[in-house]
Symmetry: none
DNA sequence: GATGAATGAGACTTCATTCAT
DNA sequence: GATGAATGAAGTCTCATTCAT
């Protein structure tokens, strides 16, 4: 009866607020403690009933998938920002450093998702996955055009290296920084 | 390791056999399916009762820790072997390739343990941890002495990079091989 | 290692005792209150943990199916007993009366099972189902041979009539008795 | 039924429309899938909010009771129709056949209600219950007067038999028809 | 009056751990 | 010592009912 577009009626204000709050709390909780946190605990922290979470996300996995998709988009946004705001030739390096030092630090969600652990991003959030791949392709192309990135490198390898860097991020910040520098050196032409 | 010293009486022969069998089955199972496999399932596959596992390992985590320690020692042995049997300058590179391509491929135990996931190796198996660090130090020293590994690299960074490589190992073998080559290139002096 | 036949090792004495106790309590509870009783409640009444029930019956439905199968066998045994101990020509009538007055009274399990409500007996307990059909066939044949049961009657109709009688059993005993007499009169030749 | 008498104010037109729609959808849904269908699902199918259902019916059971009462009245109407439009002596038989073959077939609501399953019709809808008893009395009297129904039969037994017939209705139509014929034969004088 | 989001008790099920046999 | 049955505390998910919008 109310006007809605494409059959998707907009969420009521309070519902949208709750959904966002759940997503945010879920992100923080999953990032800090991993997938094993009970849904009830997330509900408690978000100040809602467990049923509310299940209204918005039919299963725990769906909640996790939503968090992951959100997080991957954020990551891609960050990369695009770096690409546009600085030296395109250095954007890939800056991106990897940012992933390791600022983002990956203790973000189980992003690390696990990129490594395909506990979730198949490509299957449950194809758009986010594509977004990430596209970004990596753009960063790679920019670097190769500028001559700062070796030519014999393609997106799949780069993605694998990103996953490797994320794993490095779990370490002490200074160690991680130095390790990342070493790894990124390998990306430059000899 | 020593027989009947310090009040530790040696296991009866059948008990020792059971302990070894459990450890082996637990390794295979955890490696293939991760920590979430029930203890009962491991008992079933090992052909023993669940109580037998608990007689040898007080908790599931202790069993996992024993598996991890065993596995890390195997890894260190492999590295030491490479160091003694071939070109010492290339041993580190050969070791990393082996870790990624032969070992890490689908070994949840090793990957997770090295990444500090689900277990703190340093805390529960300090000897294995020290063993691994020692090995990395030896591989590093040999490479630096031979001039094949950059001088501004220390064990902590190298360990972080090993972890990164393991994460890469989860990928398609060919992609992982190329990615590892890129990473190891970063280890060489410019 | 222990000798067992056909791969089915006999239940340990205590386990068998528990299993029987659970089955008995489950029968009484389901019979009195229907399928909606929680498994936890049955566990409580049987004096065991919920896990114990799930060790013997993997799902609630499996428990229910076991109860039903047991109950249907009892019913068939009763019928066979009547067939052998009295006038074969009257056995069918005696059987129907017994079902209504002694058994069906408030036995949700039997009534629902025979009516195919909440469970498909044929699917989950084919042997019990076959047993019941066989018995009905025997009762019918005996009656028809003795000339006390009309000839134009077959097992499927008889089974439907049994279900109908069971439903009657839910009523006040005296009313049910009279109603059953009327129905069984219909089974006799004119 | 009367407008605005005794403090019961008539429903606004749209509210009445909603109430009727809910009742109709609830009947269809309960008949097809039983009492276990969630209230939300009925609301969805009726195109109203769950709150609307609860405005008209204070509990799910009240909704079910209303459906049952409605349905029993329909049944009684059908019986009365048969009584007036055809041979009064055969009306009872026609009625039973209709119940089994046309109505009972897969109508969980009617079968369960008549069998006292999930609801006590006499308690929650005394008028409907009385209506049904009255009808059965009329059908019985007509048959007995015409000599087509045995004299030693009273309403309670007849009601029990009706319940039994309904249970038969769950079966394959042809089998149910034959079984009903057998049962109704029992109603005729010898 | 209508809506549908939120609630929260409770269902079924799993599994680390203990303990009688 | 070994066994595997029993325990019971979670965990995920559902749904009757309430209530803010």
């Amino acid at each position: 009866m109310a006007a809605d577009i494409g059959g998707v009626r907009p969420l009521r204000a309070d519902a949208a607020r709750n959904r966002d709050r759940v997503l945010e709390v879920a992100y923080e909780t999953f990032a800090a403690e991993g997938l094993s946190v009970p849904v009830d605990e997330i509900a408690r922290r978000a100040g809602v009933g467990a049923g509310t979470i299940y209204r918005h996300f039919p299963t725990k996995e769906a909640l996790y998938a939503a968090v992951v998709a959100h997080r991957i988009r954020d990551m891609a946004d960050r990369g695009r920002q770096l690409l546009q705001s600085g030296d395109p030739g250095e954007a890939l390096f800056a991106f990897l450093r940012a992933m390791v030092l600022e983002w990956g630090a203790s973000d189980h969600v992003l690390i696990d998702a990129l490594a395909g652990r506990g979730i198949d991003v490509h299957a449950v959030a194809p758009e986010a996955d594509a977004d990430a791949r596209t970004l990596l392709g753009e960063l790679l192309a920019a670097g190769q055009e500028a001559g700062t990135v070796r030519a014999d490198l393609d997106v799949p390898e780069l993605k694998a290296i990103l996953v490797g860097c994320q794993a490095i991020g779990a370490y002490d910040a200074e160690v991680a920084a130095r390790a990342t520098d070493v790894v990124t050196d390998g990306l430059r032409p000899r």
